[in-house]
């Protein structure tokens, strides 16, 4: 081997993310700085980078890489990196696939989609061949390389392990010689993460954490717009994390009185089941959805409705029954992930509970039939104030408040959009 790959920078310009990777960190304690890959790293998880799809659209993406020559006679070489060679599948697989397509013709379109998004290929495509010059010490500078044939924009949000096979040649038109393999884990997000996440200053605790991206990119894999992304994350938080509602107090575990999100504890819960446990309230759910969705490019805020409103039957997170969690059938307040300015007409995402989506959400406690509806992209209310109570049935509006609250003077009218809690950085609690 005459050439060695020494290091790769994905985020080679921390002041911009239009041609290179975002400013990120691993978690509360570990920063990530370029070069993200150095010789000796062997697993994709060792080398992390994230790209904002909106910002890179239309731009040539570049990385920078550094090399060492082992043969002192080599002063210049052409270097490129390619996809790994395709895996050869046995004949039996193709026969089986043919049978599947005959039985289910739609599989053809699925395969076509896989081909379109470059399934099985590096999300970052290939590194275009570039002339690299070595200095007398035998090392190159960091050399800019353009990427070609990448699938970043086609894949939407995602978590993409990949590997580049590095090759060199001394002259154009001579055969390539392989010399190294580098493995990376690439995250793709819709746009530059929004609050609490920041790009500047860097490094900073509020730079996006890859431990969050790692999960959010899986929860919202392949999504390509903010609404579907927020919906996917809301659904995942509601159904898949083992969280349950605090029917004792309705107290938050993962936010503190200084309005921070105890994200390290929450990640610990996701990893080990411990952390601060699985019992949560609405503030926790709203903050989790906001923080994870905004990490992948949504623009939500945890915002409130208040005060002291009577409830109709709901199905709280982690519960299998329709109920009203507290003895007085009321909530003091409720907090959800909210879009826009957190106004009455702005849609909300609520991972904390399901409402009754049928045409009579106000039956007696535990009495009426219910049609489960997880509030995703649902207007807080479609009714103008003041609301004349009781509302008539059948009630068919896609209106969150009316499906959350009792159809009484102490219910729907008491539940008013109030905006984010003071001190929460406009509903984007800082992470610790």
């Amino acid at each position: 081997m005459s050439i060695k790959l020494l290091a790769i920078k994905f985020n080679h310009d921390p002041n911009s993310h239009h041609q290179d990777a975002l400013n990120i960190r691993r978690n509360a304690s570990e920063e990530i700085q370029a070069p993200e890959w150095v010789r000796g790293m062997s697993q994709p998880e060792d080398s992390l980078a994230a790209y904002a799809l909106k910002e890179i659209t239309g731009n040539v993406i570049t990385i920078q890489a550094k090399f060492e020559r082992l043969d002192p006679l080599i002063n210049q070489v052409y270097i490129q990196a390619t996809n790994p060679p395709p895996k050869l599948l046995p004949q039996s697989f193709w026969k089986w696939l043919q049978q599947i397509i005959e039985k289910y013709p739609w599989v053809k379109y699925f395969l076509l989609w896989l081909w379109f998004i470059g399934y099985g290929k590096n999300v970052m495509g290939e590194v275009k061949d570039t002339l690299v010059t070595f200095d007398p010490s035998g090392e190159s500078e960091y050399v800019p390389f353009e990427l070609q044939y990448h699938f970043l924009l086609k894949r939407g949000i995602g978590r993409h392990p990949m590997e580049w096979h590095w090759q060199y040649r001394l002259q154009p038109n001579t055969p390539w010689t392989s010399f190294d393999i580098s493995k990376h884990l690439i995250f793709t997000v819709l746009q530059v993460p929004t609050g609490p996440w920041t790009q500047q200053p860097y490094p900073d605790l509020q730079n996006p954490w890859t431990e969050v991206l790692d999960r959010a990119c899986q929860w919202a894999a392949f999504q390509s717009n903010a609404t579907s992304t927020a919906g996917a994350i809301t659904q995942y938080v509601n159904e898949k994390l083992g969280l349950a509602y605090d029917t004792a107090h309705g107290a938050s575990k993962y936010t503190d009185l200084a309005n921070n999100f105890k994200l390290s504890d929450f990640l610990n819960y996701l990893k080990t089941g411990a952390g601060l446990g699985n019992i949560v309230n609405c503030t926790d759910c709203a903050t989790i959805v906001t923080t994870f969705a905004n990490a992948v490019g949504c623009d939500l805020m945890a915002s409130r409705m208040q005060w002291d409103f009577e409830l109709t039957d709901i199905k709280a997170i982690g519960s299998s029954i329709w109920d009203r969690p507290f003895a007085d059938d009321s909530f003091a307040y409720h907090e959800v992930a909210w879009t826009g300015t957190g106004g009455a007409g702005d849609p909300i995402f609520d991972a904390c509970l399901r409402v009754d989506g049928d045409d009579n959400p106000w039956g007696p406690p535990g009495g009426s039939p219910h049609s489960e509806l997880l509030p995703k992209d649902m207007p807080f209310t479609t009714l103008a104030n003041p609301v004349k109570i009781p509302l008539a049935t059948p009630f068919t509006a896609n209106s969150y408040r009316e499906r959350l609250c009792a159809n009484t003077a102490g219910g729907i009218p008491n539940c008013q959009a109030a905006g984010p809690r003071i001190g929460t950085y406009n509903g984007r609690r800082r992470v610790i």
Binding site: H249, A251, A274, G277, Q306, F326, A327, F331
Partner: protein, 266 residues
């Protein structure tokens, strides 16, 4: 800036929690103040401390200590979260209780008296059949204790034990006191042994051994109230007569030292 609506709502919450009946009041004959609160490691045995975090400035500018205690047999399933806020006096602790319950989605909580529990100066339990979470104030401390693990533990016995600790009942320490650990050595000075009604006596407490670890100080006394002032404390004399001031120091290993002084309020 607190809005009028917020202030109105806070008053409504106070009313709902019966604040007028307990706000600023303590139970028992002694006034008490705790500084540098800590739960000795073995105090909730067999539970052991998994985590202890101190936030120097938290609710109402007081210090906050958060503990996670775990059962050695089922560390994931049986866990307790205990948060302690140290306030500058009883009245502040009670306002802080209102601050905390206002972050709860439940509009109100059952008072412990309705659950046949006598804990703290004021105490509230859980909705539901099991007391899996409680919040109470004793003297200048506000304590929130809740079951954290997958197995829902009733926390009332632990709350009662912590209340006993703050109340100065040290029998449990003396039982568990490790024989080979170093006792707390501290000095306790009064600016005077006498004071008039509404007069002040400055109380200074310092470790005699500079190598000693952090220790908790409990100040107990009749005939007046304590309040912190900088690094020291002040006893505000209220009742004529001879009164006993007790200063108790406890370290993390559960070692206890106690000193007493009689003062005259004339």
């Amino acid at each position: 800036m607190i809005s009028q609506a917020h202030s109105d709502h806070r008053n409504k919450v106070k009313e709902r929690y019966g604040f007028a009946a307990w706000g600023g009041k303590t139970r028992g004959p002694e006034a008490g103040l705790t500084r540098n609160f800590l739960i000795p490691w073995k105090y909730l045995s067999p539970f052991k401390v998994e985590r202890q975090e101190v936030t120097p400035v938290s609710l109402r500018e007081g210090r906050e200590v958060t503990y996670i205690f775990i059962s050695p047999e089922a560390p994931k399933d049986e866990r307790l979260l205990i948060r302690v806020w140290e306030c500058d006096g009883v009245a502040t602790a009670h306002e802080a209780l209102i601050d905390v319950v206002m972050t709860f989605m439940a509009t109100s909580l059952p008072p412990c008296s309705s659950l046949d529990l006598e804990i703290g100066d004021v105490c509230f339990g859980s909705h539901g059949n099991r007391q899996v979470a409680m919040i109470f104030a004793r003297n200048n401390l506000l304590i929130d204790i809740r079951s954290l693990g997958l197995r829902k533990l009733a926390v009332s016995s632990y709350a009662a034990k912590l209340d006993q600790l703050i109340g100065g009942d040290l029998r449990n320490f003396l039982v568990m006191e490790p024989k080979d650990s170093k006792p707390v050595s501290f000095e306790f000075q009064l600016s005077s042994d006498t004071a008039g009604v509404d007069g002040e006596i400055v109380v200074k407490v310092a470790a005699a051994d500079p190598g000693v670890k952090d220790f908790m100080v409990l100040l107990l006394g009749t005939g007046g109230t304590f309040m912190p002032r900088g690094e020291d404390f002040v006893f505000l004399a209220k009742t004529l007569g001879s009164h006993l001031l007790r200063i108790i120091a406890v370290n993390e290993e559960g070692q206890v030292a106690q000193q007493e002084r009689t003062i005259q309020v004339a």
